[in-house]
Symmetry: C2
Subunit: 256 residues, 2 copies
């Protein structure tokens, strides 16, 4: 009998592919041929709230997207960077007129995107590597949440500025937490009591035995975004809400 | 700023309805009108493996079941006890010829079953309350797993004996762990190294902010079941496998 083996171990990063349960999910879904309901990941919030996300969303076609996501892709011009591109669904929809580069921190996601013929590099918004500068920066699929927190957002905005060519635009999909179901309001209130923005969500994702590290995703309203941009090079020009959802398309311009 | 509120709390039983996340899931699914993919619960194994179960399974009709489940219901005779009946899907399929009582530990599940006109009491196989004796004992939907472990099984079998009338039959759906996907084999091997039966699965269920206590569910082959029955009043008469799945219908008779 092996005493160590008998201790409950609890969730932990997988030994072979640390912190890339997300990549494993995308690889598995891609290999199986993406269909709804077959590959699901778990999103665990730090108060114990659990929800489920279907990997199929990472393989959807434009006609399955929210209109604001289609609109964002249609507005892209020039050299385009898709930040947090996952398997590259938005890049696939960009026509050949654009030179498009994708960034994602997940080796598994990058592998799946490359299998689809896309130019995707391992990197994050604050550690993009040597990708150059862009006319359009995309943060789609809710990736405005990569702002992370009130404290982290300036680093993200500064990095975006370094990636921006003159007259660059940032097209980002945000999620307004103030439209959320009542069951989430206690979480927002706890954040307020802790001096955080209400929509700062500390979460990790789980898939099979893989568990990511905890990270922060920032849900914020267009007004909160405008306030957060103070002192940065970025200006919110328009926020187009997606009716019946909390999502909106934010168009920002850069004046460094 | 409230320091206590800022501590990560992690999963915990919900204050208002401790350990009845399962009941909340069934109540929510029933209230919404059961459909596939709308209400999901998370099953978390003690090694961190997570999987997802669709609450729709608790509201399926006989034509959606495995044939062995239909067969079990067709074999029921006399006064019937459905142990771990959930929302009562098997009880609903039993014709009016039977007096049928259901048992479930979840107040939420019992409430949903009662809304469907069923005689369901709060209780478990080892704490059934004053329900009398039965000609047929049902442990369907994989509920043979309520045997729990090698150590717990004798208590379950003794309780079943006390619930059994002369010539009573136990009809139970088991799950053979030796048919499982390779990703589960390390878990079975760890169990063996700890002196446990390979299919003893320590798990808890999570739904939204609710988290159950940890409990053991015993997956075992018909041969392992036969061995486990030694010294009990129960004899395995037949084990009918469900092709392409790990499930089987076990028919047991009682000779106290």
């Amino acid at each position: 009998m092996n005493e160590t083996a008998c201790m409950p171990t609890g969730p932990r990063p997988h030994g072979a592919t640390p912190d890339d349960g997300y990549g494993a999910l995308l690889r598995d879904a891609h290999a199986a041929g993406p269909r709804r309901g077959t590959h699901l990941q778990i999103i665990e919030r730090d108060d114990g709230f659990v929800s489920i996300e279907d990997a199929y969303r990472y393989f959807t076609r434009p006609d399955e997207w929210l209109p604001v996501e289609r609109q964002a892709v249609a507005l892209a011009t020039g050299r385009v960077l898709d930040i947090g591109c996952a398997a590259g669904r938005h890049m696939l929809a960009l026509t050949g007129d654009h030179e498009t580069v994708g960034l994602d921190p997940s080796p598994g996601a990058v592998a799946v995107a490359r299998e689809q013929g896309l130019d995707v590099r391992i990197g994050t918004v604050t550690e993009p590597g040597d990708v150059g500068t862009f006319d359009t920066l995309l943060m789609l699929g809710g990736n405005l949440g990569l702002l992370g927190s009130r404290e982290h957002a300036p680093d993200v905005l500064d990095s975006l500025t370094r990636l921006a060519r003159p007259d660059a635009r940032l097209l980002a999909i945000g999620h307004d937490p103030h439209t959320a179901a009542p069951e989430h309001r206690a979480y927002h209130q706890r954040n307020r009591e802790c001096g955080r923005m209400p929509g700062q969500v500390r979460m990790r994702v789980r898939y099979k035995t893989w568990t990511s590290e905890w990270f922060d995703r920032l849900l914020l309203s267009p007004d909160e975004l405008r306030h957060l941009l103070t002192g940065s090079a970025w200006t919110l020009q328009t926020a187009t809400r997606s009716p019946g959802t909390g999502f909106y398309l934010a168009e920002l311009t850069c004046n460094p």
